[in-house]
Amino acid sequence: MLDVVITRTLRDFTLDLEFAVRAGEILVLMGSNGSGKSTTLNIIAGLLSPDAGCIRLNGSTLCEPARGADTPVEDRKIGYVFQNTAVFPHLTARDNIAFGLRARRIPPLEIRKRVDALLGATHISDLSLVNAGNLSGGQKQRVALARAMAIQPALLMLDEPFTALDTESTRDIKGLIRKFVTEMQIPCIIVTHRQTDSTDIGDRALVLCAGKKEWEGVPREMPEECLVCQCL
């Protein structure tokens, strides 16, 4: 379970947000460019600090400025896939996926087992020894997703994960995310622009507008005025 209450003054507006994501649930975060979606993910990941508020994950406090609590980024156990995938181009697909496991000093045999399973699940087994810099956008997205899943995160966050993918890959990746989130019973936040993505994969949608919650609910029930408003 993820509980987020955050306030942070940004250049154009104040991000002021409160929401929760249950275990096994996928929350789709929507909003126009610059509405604070990625900043929200960065604050949860610990890459930015909130001015005030509290972030709790599975009962433990990740960040609460008032109490001086701030868990370091590397200890938050959050799988975060950036919009540009940030796949390390100097490493092979296999080494990319194993990166977090090596950083966490997991035994080599366990690393091999987990990486092989994820290479298979994301359908990139034949690319395991290819340098990630030479992969296509869709293949990089699969590597980035597998890499985030490899650390068995307590929370999965994906920033625009479907932009570089074709229709078939999008369907495939959505299925994979859903399966992972359900099996691991972890909360998941997906940032997307597309309304179809929210209805396909989201259990709940939250529409952001200039740092404030505009609407929250079941994606299919998103009101028409919200779909056509300036926020989307």
Partner: protein, 286 residues
């Protein structure tokens, strides 16, 4: 004139009459450009080529065995290697912290990094002497313990570091500034410490550019003259590096001066080829 048909995409032959005046202007522009390229190329290439024609190859190879040449070559290679090692080991983390951290006086440090690039090397040498000389601001205290820095091989290295380090620092600073932070952030969220992130992500991804900066630093240190002669003097075997030996040779034994000059030209060529190769590799990776 050949052009592609806009709707079929096929090449078609079109005869578009070009006015005579326009044709003549174009030819004159091309001729002017060719002349300009030729003049600049010859201006740069002729003095270098003249060096190679001044002494016959057998004289050059015979002079390579001369103890003065060997001593200068040995000293230059040793000192520049130490200079490069110090600059890379200290300069890489310095450039990284300088880029990532905001601290008071950052702009002043930024200017100081670039200062040796515009400062005349002889002035740099005098400044080093005033600080580290036997009666210098700091040198006098070292002298109390019998430690003398000026006019030693250490002074050669210090002069080289002062003059050549900006080439590496500027390159490293620019690489770290342009580096996409999402790679470092990803590594951190995956569980890597800041040090591990730097060593396994940032450093390998900027390695090509850093090596290219290191090669330029090596080249600048190898050619250092002004600061060295002021701060370290010109003692054969101790502080007489290759550029200093060229200077001495040109006043006495011309063959030695020319031989060392040719050696420096060859090394400079190798350095430039290495830099171009690394820059090309970096560009193709990007």
């Amino acid at each position: 004139m050949i052009a592609a048909c806009w709707f079929t995409g096929k090449d078609i032959l079109m005869q578009i009459p070009v006015p005579r005046k326009k044709n003549l202007r174009r030819s004159l522009t091309y001729a002017g450009a060719a002349l300009l390229i030729l003049v600049v190329t010859l201006y740069l290439a002729l003095p270098v080529a003249a060096l190679f024609f001044r002494i016959p190859p057998e004289t050059f190879f015979a002079a390579l065995g001369n103890p003065e040449v060997q001593s200068a070559l040995y000293l230059s290679l040793i000192t520049t290697t130490i200079t490069l090692t110090v600059v890379v080991i200290v300069g890489t983390p310095f450039a990284y912290f300088h880029t990532r951290l905001d601290y008071p006086g950052k702009m002043i440090v930024e200017t100081l990094i670039d200062l040796p690039l515009v400062l005349p090397p002889a002035v740099a040498g005098v400044a080093l002497l005033v600080l580290w000389g036997r009666v210098g601001f700091l040198g006098r205290y070292f002298n109390l313990f019998g430690i003398s820095i000026a006019f030693t091989t250490t002074a050669v290295i210090m002069a080289q570091i002062f003059v050549a380090s900006p080439f590496y620092l500027r390159q490293a600073k620019s690489l770290f500034e342009q580096f996409d932070l999402s790679y470092e952030y990803t590594a951190r969220t995956l569980g890597a410490s800041p040090a591990r992130t730097f060593l396994t992500v940032t450093l390998p991804m900027t390695a090509g550019g850093l090596v290219s900066g290191a090669v330029m630093t090596f080249g600048r240190a190898l050619g250092e003259f002004g600061a060295t002669i002021m701060f370290a003097g010109n003692l054969p075997g101790v502080t007489q590096t290759m550029p200093l030996a060229v200077y001495v040779g040109m006043e006495g034994n011309l063959t030695i001066g020319l031989t060392i000059s040719i050696l420096l030209v060859i090394i400079s060529f190798v350095i430039m080829i290495a830099v171009r190769y690394l820059a090309h590799r970096e560009a193709s990776h990007a």
